[in-house]
Amino acid sequence: MIGSPDVVAFTKEDEYGQTKPDPWALPEEFSVPLHPLADSNPWAKTSYAKFTKDFILISEFSEQVGPQPLLTIPDDPKVCGTFDLNYFSLRIMSVDYQASFVGHPPGSGYPRLSFVEDSRVVLGDSKEGAFAYVHHLTLYDLEARGFVRPFCMAYVAADEKKIMLQFQELSLRFSQASECLKAGNRRAFAKELQRKLQDLEYTHSVLQREEGLQREAGPQCMYSAHAVEKANELANVEKSIYEHRDLLKQISSYHRRPRRDPHAVTCQKCMTECLKECEELLDKYAKLASPFSYSKKGAVGEGRLGQLDDVRGEEEVDEEEDEDVKRRPSYTPQLIKAKSAKCFDKRLKTLQELCDETFYEATVGLLKDTERSFRGDLCYLHTRRLDKALRRKQRVVNFLFEEELDDDEEEVGTLRPFCAVNHTIDNYVHLNPPHIVLGPEPLELDPLEPLGPQGPASEASVVQESELRLGESHLESSPSDQTLETQESSEETKGSFSSDKSGTDQAEKHESLASMKSEGPDPDSDLTPDPDHNTDLERQSSSEEMETTAGEDEGDQTPVSLLEMVSELEVSREDEGETVNESDLLVPIDTACCIAQEGFLYEATAPDAVPYLRQGSHPQNSQTHVVNQEPQALLPLQDDYTVGSSCSESPAAGLELPVGLLGEIVSRTSVEDGSDCTMSASTGSDRAASPLGYGGVVTLRQRKKAGQGALRFVRQYPFAMQALWCLLSGRTLVVLGVDEGRVRRLVAALALFVPDPGKCGERVQAWLSCPFTLTDLQRWKLIGLQRVASPVGSSMLYSLSRYSRYISILDADLKTLRCPPYRGHLLANVADHRTYIRRGSTYFLHLQSTLCDLAAKAFLFTFTHHLHLPVTSTEGSEVVEGRRRCFLQEQLGLDEEDSQILLYLSQLITQRFLQPANSSTAAAPCFSFSYTTSVLYKI
């Protein structure tokens, strides 16, 4: 049943490295294939996948039941459809790629923690039509076999190519998630160790006392069976203490190890923090070292570690005092029985418990982001990335027409540690996760606290207190107390993962039974102490068993060789990572701004999509060729373009691109749009028609929807061109109408043409029903105005006529436009009312390209020195003026009115460019206009 999954090789294919591209050729991604490939029903390939969308699956190889799915992202049963998660997690977890190396190494006396790097593989199940990027990781659990719990996170898609080409980025994202989980896990593990050590010490002291009593009782019973047993027990406990202390040492040394994994970047601050905690613990328990006399410990604790006093729980007075001071419950150590329960009667910790809750949430959030950012088919992803890369290069002009680049999607290829507790913004106190409760810990946390030994606890802020309490309660609910019943119930909940219950449940039961049989003794024998029984389970050295098993040497052989293999793989991947990074370095952002330079288009790459491009190419050449080579490496994408493995979107949509991507990320547009409470009194009902307004980010989806409106406007109004010209040349356009819905729709459509609309469309006022002033004209470039027949209306119309020289008026009711005459040709392209474009999103893209072109021209115009300033000192301003006109008219082919667009865009660019210098000052913005007559256009 557990078959070896067919591992798809993710190393490079030979032909990618060989081609030496012609630097002048059109980049592949821009060319359109002449005819589709022969075998192409584009959807045939993925049609048999049983799930509708890509998703992320987190599975665990449970030591009790074997591989089991834990969580899918998105957490929606519809996503997986009839896809058998249990079976799939069985497949992806069935090979231990990490080759965890546990138990006693040959030389050492203590159990060792395995420090394995994560492994990344691409697995495929051709029968199921599922391919997955699988990221294996191990977390530490004191109660688990070998202290490790193997997990894996998988990105499951129906399109193999998508996974292969996104491998680098997937790897990056999942590494971040994994690091985050592991960071949380180390904290939790240290916490667990601490509790365990406390337990052990307490047990030790109790045993010692008993022994002492016995000794006092008389020598005659010194060698009684009972006494021997006690002595053995005591020795066991001592050994266990040493073992745990060693574990603590190991985990604190974890950070010092060099990481082989190039993607494993952790938050430095988190790491040092955790390290400090570990070392503190280590210190603490090292101090209590040799004589395990409890009173001494108490003294030490009292002296230095105020909080540990109540942990001791012996000296009643002390405890009461401390309770008074701290007013919070403490952890009472438990007596540890010599023989504890076997692994099957205890409940294993859930992933949340294994990792700190904060870290778990952060990881899930990160994975959700990942899932979202990989939505859509390869073609879409590629286009988007291309678009983003281009936009990143045009930072100077992006503000004009492009929506904001979300900066959290950082430069692809750079490694930025993801930090669950947001160390980057240093909002330290509030975002603190529940900390491991250690004695002097709060001292480091809050520098404002007094440094006295009692101080931290008593003066701790409310927030911190509650946090600490949370931590305490975590400590108290020890999962080890729970038994088979809970385990059963958890198994039941687990069963709900599979949507096809009737079919899979059976199989799962069977499977888990099988794994039980293979792994452990039958449950009945669990409670009987049988120290020799588990020698065959070579890796099992769970913390409950004080005695460690021998004979692991032979068991280690295979993992080692596997480890080597993995490390080899990793090394090679490391190389790739380097080349990718290198190529990134070679495309600095600054050059991006030189749009005029040849090949700015060529540089547009998605570096992460081409991890294996350059193997085999000459290393010395690489520096110069990387830039031009990369698009070539995207060649495989071309196939996808034609084959169109659209796995997630409905095939019927045709060219309609999936629009949900950005839209869903930033769908926080308030419903209360446009109601800038004092300025506008909204009366209509269909406000939803307009996405514009204050406080809401205008999303791509909304813009595309607006594209439909814009197309309708263009087709409907013969003077659309004039209206667009007004907007593009910076003349405020007032849309006047009675019907709010209609005005809002018009405004939403026209907002696409407003240069520099602001992040939330600040330059657009969708609905205004009061007179406006000059300041409003300065602020808004597009205004929807209510036409009312009342005194308010008349004063509003007074302002309309008063400021008529600054505005153009589009009357939505009479279908007229009053604006300066426009006779240019530049906009005929986008405002052709006989256009053949039928789809809003197509029009939107058409529009975007036109506007992008305009922005590029404006950039060129703005930053060309001789068009603005004299070349020599003798030149007068009229020479410069002539040169500028010549440039606009002859080189760019723009006539008078079209030039105004460019001049306006250029002015915006200039202002924006100069802004950072004087943004601190409260200088009012400039408002430019021109004195020209207006004419009235009618339909």
Partner: protein, 450 residues
């Protein structure tokens, strides 16, 4: 005419003939193609003073004095201290050999007088508990004293110590003060002009003596200006313009500006509460030494000092009272008015045939055909052959209330202040864009690239 926008019927019939000239939207001679709105005041802004080439101060009914950088539009200082509206503001330049430092003196209705340092925003000196509020201020830099006029006349030295003080018998008090040669000052009090002489004694104390009272005006004097070294002029509510000799204080010329009887008033359908202008009152006088520009009601009146004749005039230059005027050069002038606009005029030699400059405001609406014929023929060809015309070359519309005052910084721009609590900085767009280009390439060079 606005009914059209309201979606009503066309309303040609109701449009009255307006004598006010409308220039329309095409203004090739108007170079102010960029503006900045300066916010900061909470009440009517009444006064503007120029501090130096790039700074000006504004003051108004909110008791605030704000110092602005007119190159950038930044607010540099906020001088707070007066609890009531400011009634007068002036600059006081102390120059020693090397440096000259300009201070601001403000007077307020809270009956206090303050000396400010506009560089730091500090209130250097303040005098409260005056017997009455000061209505006008005059700085005699030569003597290093400052004269404040109200119901009493006070003379202050550089350190704001009261030098002497004179109670007045008139109820209205002093409304205007000008400096005359020979340490004399002229003060306008109701219908009279009183000449005082300041005597500086050896211990540098100053005394004031009234030496003459000129009572040729028949109505309250609204404006009093120095024309040149030999002449000063005054204007009254009754439209009398009198030229005086500065030295012997003789009446040199008496002009009574009386418009021919007023035509049907220029009321449009929608008026923003503008009262009917007092037709003859001389609101403001300016001069450049050769010409005197008088704001009479809502009209403008240019008077040549040398020939003692009226050079040009326009009776209905604005929709309502003209509040402030400025002679930019011998042929260019500006005026601002309660109607919220600033207009720029040119004195043109040849009276062109009466062709309306443009279809004007109505041109923008399609129904204006019928209006074109009735477009204002406001220009009256004068009987006097030497008469030149005042042609409107541009107007600045931005304020929503009366434009109280403006000052020109020449090519750097124009600052206007208004009842709508705003200041507007009007600039030459081309020049500004050139400056911005300069700044851009400078910054590029500084950054070493983008």
């Amino acid at each position: 005419m606005l009914r059209w926008i309201l979606g009503g019927r066309e309303a040609q019939g109701s449009v009255e003939k307006s004598p006010v000239l409308c220039i329309g939207e095409e203004q090739p001679k108007n170079c102010f193609t960029e503006l900045q709105v300066l916010k900061g005041h909470f009440d009517i802004v009444r006064f503007l003073v120029q501090i130096d080439d790039f700074r000006c101060a504004s003051a108004g009914d909110d008791g605030l004095v704000l110092v602005w950088n007119i190159e950038t539009g930044e607010r540099l200082q906020e001088l707070r201290g007066h609890s009531q509206q400011i009634t007068a503001i002036t600059t006081f330049t102390c120059s020693n050999e090397v440096t000259s430092h300009t201070s601001l003196i403000t007077a307020s209705s809270d009956r206090s007088l303050s000396l400010w340092d506009p560089d730091t925003g500090n209130r250097v000196q303040t005098i409260s508990d005056l017997q009455s509020s000061v209505k006008c201020l005059l700085v005699l830099e030569r003597l290093g004293v400052c004269v404040s006029g109200g119901e009493e006349l006070c003379v202050w030295n550089k350190d704001f110590q009261l030098q002497c003080h004179r109670q007045n018998h008139s109820d209205t008090g002093i409304t205007a003060l000008i400096e005359l040669p020979k340490n004399c000052i002229a003060a306008a009090m109701d219908k009279e002009i009183v000449i005082f002489r300041l005597t500086v004694s050896t211990d540098s104390s100053v005394s004031v003596a009234e030496i003459r009272c000129l009572s040729d005006h028949h109505d309250q004097i609204r404006a009093l200006i120095n024309v040149n070294d030999r002449l000063f002029a005054s204007g009254s509510d009754a439209g009398e313009l009198i030229l005086w000799d500065s030295i012997d204080w003789n009446n040199l010329s008496y002009e009574h500006i009386l418009w021919e009887e007023s035509q049907s008033s220029s009321q449009t359908e929608i008026r923003l509460g503008a009262p009917k202008p007092s037709e003859m009152s001389i609101q403001h006088l300016t001069t450049n030494g050769k010409l005197i520009l008088a704001a009479v009601g809502s009209g403008l009146y240019v008077y040549d000092v040398a020939t003692k004749t009226v050079v040009a005039y326009r009776k209905a230059a604005h929709d309502s009272n003209v509040l402030h005027t400025l002679l930019l050069s011998d042929c260019e002038l500006m005026s601002c008015s309660e109607d919220g606009s600033v207009r720029m005029w040119e004195i043109q030699d040849l009276p062109l045939p009466a062709e309306p400059a443009s279809a004007g405001f109505f041109g923008m609406w399609t129904f204006s055909r019928s209006n074109k014929q009735s477009a204002p023929q406001s220009k009256k060809v004068m009987e006097i052959p030497a008469m030149r015309t005042l042609e409107l070359t541009g107007d600045l519309i931005g304020h929503s209330g009366a434009v109280q005052m403006f000052i020109s910084f020449r090519e750097n721009g124009l600052v206007t202040c208004s009842t709508d609590h705003l200041l507007i900085l009007w600039k030459n767009g081309e020049r500004q864009s050139h400056l911005r280009s300069l700044a851009l390439f400078h910054k590029l060079e500084e950054n070493g690239g983008l």
